[in-house]
């Protein structure tokens, strides 16, 4: 997923202590950051969180400050407007506390996904979900669903571009129905093909296929 993955902020190989930090530690730090910022919302806490996350990215993942700013660009419009609004109504310290806190949380999350192979994140989630087995959850199927989802995003993005070009070729690019319907139909067809491929490989069936004596008739599809 590298082509699209790099724009999405998924794993990029590199060096630095963040790459060597175990996933649970990174996850706890990222979660802790969100929890603390959510609960306190004070400018001081926010400043500490910002220094820590930016520092971690610069030292721990060898990212340049420019790179970090560019990561925030897509979320910038919302953040700037939120900061201006709150600064105007409730004062600039409050504005800094809230917007800066969100920036810190975003960076903390990105620090995790950038330095951990995606497959490890998925395995981690499956491990985390394991206790829920008792209530009938199936962590392996959940992790498989996450994989299929991540893998489908670039496919759908490509399909979206194809569909838009086809609409343009027919002079229908201003009709959103023409632009989106084939995308959704394509998505359903793609899901069916993927489901069939999973079935053909004996994956994604219940209980990961270890009950040989399944009395149910073959699940045709």
């Amino acid at each position: 997923m590298r082509g699209f993955g790099s724009t999405m902020g998924l794993y990029e190989p590199g060096r630095g202590f963040l790459y060597r930090t175990p996933l649970p530690v990174k996850a706890a730090a990222s979660l802790g950051c969100a929890g603390i910022v959510l609960a306190w919302r004070s400018p001081f806490v926010t400043a500490v969180a910002l220094v820590l996350t930016v520092g971690a990215l610069v030292v721990g993942a060898r990212l340049s400050p420019v790179r970090i700013l560019r990561m925030l660009l897509p979320a910038a419009p919302v953040l700037v407007v939120l900061a201006l609004y709150q600064g105007w109504l409730q004062g600039w310290t409050v504005a800094f506390g809230v917007s800066g806190g969100i920036v810190a949380c975003l960076l903390a999350a990105r620090a995790l996904t950038l330095t951990t192979p995606t497959q490890d994140i998925l395995d981690g989630v499956a491990r985390l979900a394991r206790p829920f087995r008792v209530v009938g959850a199936q962590p392996e199927r959940f992790a498989l669903a996450l994989s299929v989802m991540l893998r489908s995003i670039p496919y759908l993005a490509g399909l979206f571009v194809d569909v838009r070009e086809a609409a343009k070729a027919r002079g229908l690019e201003r009709n959103p129905r023409v632009a989106v319907t084939p995308l959704v139909i394509g998505a359903v067809a793609y899901a069916h093909r993927t489901g069939e491929a999973l079935t053909a490989r004996g994956l994604g069936d219940h209980d990961d296929g270890d009950d040989e004596e399944d009395p149910a008739p073959a699940p045709g599809m």
């Binding site: 999405m8 902020g9 990222s30 979660l31 950051c33 969100a34 929890g35 910022v37 959510l38 897509p74 979320a75 419009p77 919302v78 700037v80 407007v81 939120l82 709150q86 809230v98 969100i102 949380c105 975003l106 903390a108 999350a109 990105r110 995790l112 996904t113 498989l144 669903a145 996450l146 299929v148 989802m149 991540l150 893998r151 489908s152 995003i153 496919y155 759908l156 399909l159 979206f160 129905r177 989106v180 319907t181 959704v184 139909i185 394509g186 359903v188 793609y190 899901a191 069916h192 093909r193 993927t194 489901g195 069939e196 999973l198 994956l203 994604g204 069936d205 219940h206 045709g220 599809m221």
Partner: protein, 213 residues
């Protein structure tokens, strides 16, 4: 990117397992439908959104994806798709609008909208099952189903999010939220029209036909 001939053959292929809908466990196809719709919501969310109103909560096609999940896949798989999307975003994968992700979004002004999404898919899906039992007026009825779902879930929770997270007075929050209504109506119409086409292309996706055998 895909051979068109295969797409057309899909509905035929599932034929030997009639009545695959009601109350059975999910097979690999259900799993991938859930996963692919979660991806569809993400893809629609990642496309650049238009910031609207004083807080600039972006109008994206994200909610279009949420509604489609509900009325195309039905309540169970639709809600599962939205939940999968939310979980992916919350564990840090950048699938929310503006490539954001992580628990930090729960501190942001649009948190209320995110929390409302699975409920919206559930309500829209439940209504869609009723609508799709009939053959006539499907598009307008599906539109009403989506509109009802967004009015009882997305807007109230979105307003609550604006009040709690952005510190807006309730009156202002309602006004800010109202700025999204026109876009919402438009997206719900779009969702309904698309869903009718999808159900025509894949008639067995959701119970909406007379039971066979």
């Amino acid at each position: 990117m895909q051979p068109a001939e295969k797409t057309a053959a899909e509905p035929v292929r599932s034929s030997p397992s009639p009545g695959r809908r009601s109350g059975r466990r999910w097979d690999a196809t259900d799993l991938s439908l859930v996963a692919v719709f979660a991806a569809l919501i993400a893809a629609l969310a990642i496309l650049p959104g238009i910031p609207v109103g004083p807080l600039g909560v972006p109008i994206t096609l994200q909610t279009l994806g949420v509604m489609l999940a509900g009325i195309v896949l039905g309540p169970a798989r639709g809600t599962a798709a939205v939940l999968l999307y939310l979980v992916a975003g919350l564990i840090g994968l950048p699938v929310f609008s503006g490539f954001s992700g992580g628990f930090g979004v729960l501190a942001g002004p649009s948190a209320g909208y995110l929390v409302a999404f699975p409920l919206a898919a559930l309500v829209a899906g439940l209504l869609a099952v009723v609508v799709l039992r009939r053959q006539r007026f499907r598009a307008p009825l599906l539109f009403l189903a989506c509109l009802a779902a967004s009015l009882v879930t997305i807007h109230p929770l979105g307003i609550a999010g604006l009040v709690v997270n952005a510190g807006l007075p309730l009156r202002d929050a309602v006004i800010v939220d109202a700025a999204y209504l026109p876009g919402d109506v438009f997206k719900n119409i779009l969702a309904a029209v698309i869903a009718v086409s999808v159900h025509r292309a894949f008639p067995r996706l959701l119970a909406g036909r007379a039971p066979r055998d």
